[in-house]
Assembly symmetry: C7
Homo-oligomer: 234 residues x 7
C-alpha cells in the first residue's frame, strides 16, 4: 500500500483523487471472506443455494442457515459480517411488514431491495459510521414473475438471471456464464447451481449438505429438507 | 500529487489556497468513470441516449437501464456511482410528487432540477458528508417547451441544446459542437446522438443496443423498444 | 506557502497568529476566478452589467445569465462558485417574500443585503462548514433612492456609487475610480460600465453580448433585450 | 504490530484494507482474559458451568457469581469486562420484562439473544463508542426445547449443543469436541462440563467451587447450592 | 513561533501550559488591524470619535460609518472584522428591544454590555466556533449618568473615563493618559479626542472627516453632521 | 511508555491490541493518589474508617470529611478526584430519593450501587467524556443484612467482608487478608480497621483523628464524634 | 515540557498515564496570574479583602471591583479570567434567585457553592469545552453561622477559616498559617488580612486602596467605603 492511498482510506466520507471510496472497497473485502452462495432463475421460479460451513459438530445446524425468509414469497442469502447481515435482514423484514400494515399488501420485491440498498448507501456517505460489510442476494416472486437481485456494500443493486456472492463468487460466475441456459427446469437449475458451487468451494465438507430454497409460480418459498437436498448431491 | 495538495483535499469543508474544493473535483473523477450518455434537443422535443454496458449475459437487461422517468414528462440519465444516482433520482421523484400533492400540478422542470442541485450543493458545504459522485442529465417538456439540463457533483446546473456526461463526455461534446444544428427532426437528432456516442465509446459491445428515450410536444416521454432502437443502428 | 501558514489554514474556525481567517481568504480566490461584473449608479437609478462567458454554442443562453431579479425592484449579480451563488440568491428571494407575507411590504434593500450577509458571516465562524465561495452585487430602488451594495465571502457589506466583482475587479475599479462622475445619465453610465468591463476582460468573446439590467426612479427593474444591448456595443 | 495496522485500528468505524474491524478483534482480547465458562445441552435440558475465581477471602462469594438469571427460564454467563457484562445483562432483563408487559408473555429466547446482539452490533458500526468487551452464553427453555446461544463483541450469535467462552475456551471446546455425545443425562452433562473446565483452567483454586445452574423440561432454572455442587467435584 | 506554541493555539477550547488562550489572543490581532476609535466622557455626557478610512471615492460615505446607534441613548463604535461587528451590534439592538417589549423599559447600559460580552465569552469556551474578532466601545446615558464601556474578544468588559480601540489604541491611550482631565466641557472633550486620534493615525486622509457622536444629560444621542464635524478640524 | 501504547491511550473509546482500556487504567492512577479508607463488616453491622489529611490548620475540619451519608442507612467513602466524587455522591442521593418518591421506599443498596456504577461504566464507553477518577465504598443495612461494596472507575462493583481504596489500599488489604475474622464485635472491627490503616498510612498526622462511621442492625448510620473516635486511638 | 506530556495535555477529556488532567492544571495557571484576594473569618462574621490593580487612571474604579455581592448575605471574590468570572458570578446569582422563587427562601450557602462547583466540574469532564480559568472565594452567613469557601477550576470546594486565591496565594497562606487566631474581632481580622496581602503583593500601588467587605451576625454584607478602607491602611 502506498502512502498516497493511506491518506484517503481512513476517512469514510472523502473521495480519493481518482474518485474512489476506499472504505467501500475494504468492506467488499469482508464480503470476499464470506461463504459462497448463489441465486439462479428457472422457467417458472428462482432458487437460492449456499454452501454450509460446519465449523464444529457442537454448533446447531439451524444456527448455520444462510438462507433467510423475508416473507413467504421472498428469501435472502448473505455473505460477509454475520452480525451486519442479521441487522439488514431484520431491517428488510420490518420494512416489508410496515408496508403490509400501512397499505394492506406486501412490498414489490424491487422496492424492498431498494429500501435495504438505500440504507446501505447512506452508510457510505455520512461520517461517523462504517459501511455494512455484507452482500445480499434477494430472490422471490412478485407480479412481474421470478425476481433475483444482489446488493453490495456500496448500496448498488442489480437484477440477474443468476448471481453469486462470497469467497467463490468469481469461479461460480465463470461457471454459470459458460453453462447457464434460460428456461431450465427447477431440477436442472438446482443441479447446475450445485455444480457451480462445487467448482468454487475448496473445502469439500462445506458442500456435504448445502442449503437450498426455491419458489415456483403460484407457490410460496420452500426451504429444502435434508432428504430433499441429498437427492441433488450425486 | 504534491504535499501541498494533500493538506487540503482530505477535508471536504475547506478551500485550498487557490480557492478550489478538491473533494468536489475528486467526485467528478467518479463521474468520469461512468457510462457515457447525452441529451439532444430537436425541433419539437428532446431525446436522451445512453450506451448500455452489458457486463455479463447473466444480468437482466432492465437492470442496466440508465434512463429513468421522473414522471411522464421528465426523464433523467445518470453517470457515476450507481447507488448515489438511485438515491438522487428517488429524491427527484419524491420532490415532484410532493409538489403535485401540495399544489395540484407537477413542478416546473427548472425548479425540479434546482431542488436536486441544491441537495447536491449542500453535500459540498457541510462537514461529515461527502459530495454525491454523480452527474445527471434532465430532459423534458414544460410550458416553456423542450428543456435539457445537467447537474454535476458541485450542484452546478446549466441548460443546453445538447449535453453529454460520463467517460466519453469530451469526445461527444466535440462531435456535437461541430455537427449540431437547430431544428433537427427527431430522427436526425437521434441519429446524430448515436453517431456522437459511437465516436466516444471504445467498447463496441456497449453500443449494440443503446438506450433511447424522447418526448415530443403534446406527448409523454417514450422509452424506445428494442425494435425501435434497432432501426437507428445501421 | 510556509509551514506556519498550513497549520492555521485548514480549520475554518481558528485565527492565525496575526489575526487572519485563511479559509475566508481562500474563498475570495474562488471569487477571483469568476466572471467580471459591475454595478453603477446614475442620476435617477442604478445599472448592473456583466460579461457573458459563452463556453459553448451548445449551452442555452438563458442558462448563462448572471443577473438575477430578487423582486421587481432589486436585482443581483454574482461571481464565484455557481451553485453557492444560486443557493444565496434563493435565500435572498425567500427572505424577501417572507417579509412581504409577514409585514405586507417588501424588505428595505439594506436589510435584505444584511440578511444574506449574516448568513455568509455565520459560515465563517462555525465549525463543520466552509464559507460561501461567492461575492454578490445587489442593486435596487427603495425609499432612500437607488442603492448599490456588495457582499463578500466574509459577510462584509459596503454601499457604493459603483462597484465590481470577479476576475477583472481590480481593472474595472481602477477605470471607474478615474472616470466615474456623479449625475451621469443612464446612457452615460451604461456606456462607461461597458468600457470599464472591456478594459478588464481579456476574452473578447465574452463581451460580445454582455448582460445589462437597470432600474430608474418610479419604474421596475428592466433586463435589456439583445437589441437594447447591441445599441451600446459600438 | 506493523505500521500499516496502526493506521486502521484506532478508529472504530473504518475497515482495514483487508476488510477487518480491529477494534472488534481487540475487544475479543478482553474476553480472552475473562474467566472460563461453558454451556452444555442434555437430553431434556441445558446446564451452565463456570469457574469461580476467588481472588481474596475478603470478597463475598455472591459477588463472584458469573451465572445470572434473566428470568426463571433463561440464564446467562459472561466473560470479559465485568461492568460491560452487567450493563448488557440488565439490558436483557429489561427487554424481557418490556416484552412481558407489552405482550403478556416472555420473549422467545432467540429473540432475546438477538435484541442483545443487535445492541452489541451497533457499537461496532457507529463512531464515538467502543464495542462491548464481553461474550455471553445464554441458556434456557422455550417452546422449541432447550436452547443454548453465545454472543460475541461483534454481535454475532450462534446456537450450540455445547459452547465455551473466556480464557480456556479453546481447551474446553477441544475437550467437548472429542467427548460430547447427544442425549446425555443431566448428571453426565454436568460431569463432562466440569471435566472439560478442569482440563482448561490452570489455577486449581478456581475450580474448588465452580458455579452450576441448569434447567429441565417443565421446570425453572435452578442454581446449584454448595452441597449440590460438591457432589460433582470428585 | 515555537513548536510548543503551535501545539496549543489551533484548538480554541484548550489552555496552553501557562494558562493562555491563544485563539483569543489572535482574535485581538484582528482588532489591532481595525480603524482607531475612542470614547471620552465630559462633564454632563459622553462622546464617541472614530477615524473614517476612505478607501475609495466610489464607496458611499454612509457605508463607512463606524458609529452605530443601539437606541437613542446608547451608541457603539467597533474595530476589527466588519461582519462580526455587524452581527454583534444587531445582537445588542435585539437584546435591547426584547427587554423593552418584555419589561416596558430599555435595558440598563451595563446589562446590555454584559449581554453582548457573555455572547463573546461563550465563543471562547465552546468547541466548534471561533471567538469574535472585534472590540466594541459602548457609550450612553442611564440613571447613573454617562457610561462608557469597552468589550474585547475575550468577553472582558471595563468601564472608563476614556478608552480607545483599534490600530492606534496604544498611542491614543498614552495621549489621553497624559492630557485627560475630568469635568471637561463637551467641546473640550471632542477637541481632545480629535487631537488624540490625530496623534495615532498615520494616514492623514482618514482624519479629514472623522465621525463624532455625543450624548448630553437630558438629551438623546446626536450624530454630528459634516458641518458640525468640520468646526473641530482646525 | 512505549510508542505503541501512546497510540491507544489518548482516545477513550478504543481498545488497545491486547484488549485494555488505557483511560480507565489512568483514572485508577488518580484514585491511587487519594486518601486511604476502608470498610469492614462485623457481627451485626458494618463500619467505614478513613484517614483524615489535615493539609492546613486554616481548613475547616467538616470540609475534610470523606465519609458521606447517602441516607440514614447507607454511607459512602471516596478516594480520587474530589469534585468527581461529590458529583457521584449527589447522583447517588438523588437516585435514592427519586426511588423513595416513586415507590414509597428507599432503594435496595445493591441497586443503588449499580445505579452509580452504570453511570461510571457509560463514561468508559462513550466518546467526548473521560471516566470518573474516583473509587467509592458503599456500606449500609438492608433487608439482607449488612452490605459492603466498592465501585471503581471502570464501573466494576464487588461485595466484600472488608475492602480498601486509595493510596494505601494494597497494604490495608494485605493486613486484613491476614487478620480479618468473621463475627467480630463492632469494637474489634473498628480497632482492626484502625490498625490496618495505620499500617498503610505513612503520614502519621493524618491518623491523628481518623473518621469513623458505623451502622448496626436496627439502628441508623452513626458518624463518630471526636470523643468516640479518640477512644480507639491508643 | 516533555513529548510525553504534550500527547495528553491538548485534549481535555483524557487522563495522563499518571492520572492527571493537564487542562485543569493549566487553567490553574490562569488563576495564578490573577489578582490576590483572601477571605477571613472572625468571631461573629467573615470578611473579604482584595488588592485593587489600578492599571490606568482612565478606568472607572467601580469597574475594577473584584468583590461581588451574590445577595445581601453572600459575597464572592474571584481571580483569573475576568469574563469567565463574570459568567460564573451571574450563574450563582441566578441559581440563588431561582431557589428563592421556587422555595421562598435563599439557598444554603454550601448548596450555592456546590451548584457553581458542579458547573465547573462538568467543564473538566465533557469534550468540546475548556475548564473555567477562575477560582472563587464565597463568604457569607447562613443558619450555621459565618461560612467561607473556595472553589477552583477542577470544581473542588473546601471550607476555611481563612483562604487566599490569585498570584499571591502562597505568601498570603503562609502568613495566615503563622498568624491567624480564632475569635479575632472584625477589626483584628481585617488588619491581619491587609498585612497578609501586603506581604504578598509586589506592586505597592495595588494596595493603595484595597477592597474590603464583611458581614456580621444579624447584619447584611457591607462593602467598605473609601473612608472606611483608609482607616485600615496605616
Amino acid at each position: 500500500m502506498q502512502q498516497g492511498q493511506m491518506a484517503y482510506d481512513r476517512a469514510i466520507t472523502v473521495f480519493s483523487p481518482d474518485g474512489r471510496l476506499f472504505q467501500v472497497e475494504y468492506a467488499r473485502e469482508a464480503v470476499k471472506k464470506g461463504s459462497t452462495a448463489l441465486g439462479i432463475k428457472f422457467k417458472d421460479g428462482v432458487a437460492l443455494i449456499s454452501e454450509k460451513k460446519v465449523r464444529s459438530r457442537l454448533v446447531e445446524k439451524t444456527s448455520l442457515e444462510k438462507i433467510q425468509l423475508i416473507d413467504d414469497r421472498v428469501a435472502a442469502v448473505t455473505s460477509g459480517l454475520v452480525a451486519d447481515a442479521r441487522v439488514l435482514i431484520d431491517f428488510a423484514r420490518i420494512s416489508d411488514q410496515q408496508e403490509k400494515v400501512t397499505y394492506g399488501s406486501l412490498m414489490n420485491i424491487e422496492n424492498l431491495v431498494k429500501r435495504v440498498a438505500d440504507q446501505m448507501q447512506q452508510y457510505t456517505q455520512y461520517g461517523g459510521v462504517r459501511p455494512y460489510g455484507v452482500s445480499i442476494i434477494f430472490a422471490g416472486l412478485d407480479s412481474i414473475g421470478p425476481r433475483l437481485f444482489d446488493c453490495d456494500p456500496a448500496g448498488t443493486i442489480n437484477e440477474y438471471k443468476c448471481v453469486s456472492i462470497g469467497a467463490g463468487k468469481d469461479q461460480v460466475t465463470a461457471y454459470l456464464e459458460k453453462e447457464y441456459k434460460e428456461n431450465l427446469s427447477e431440477d436442472e437449475a438446482i443441479r447446475m447451481g450445485i455444480a457451480a458451487l462445487k467448482s468454487a468451494v475448496a473445502d469439500e465438507s462445506s458442500m456435504k449438505e448445502p442449503e437450498i430454497a426455491s419458489i415456483k409460480m403460484g407457490e410460496t418459498f420452500h426451504v429444502f429438507t435434508s432428504e430433499e437436498v441429498s437427492k441433488y448431491l450425486n
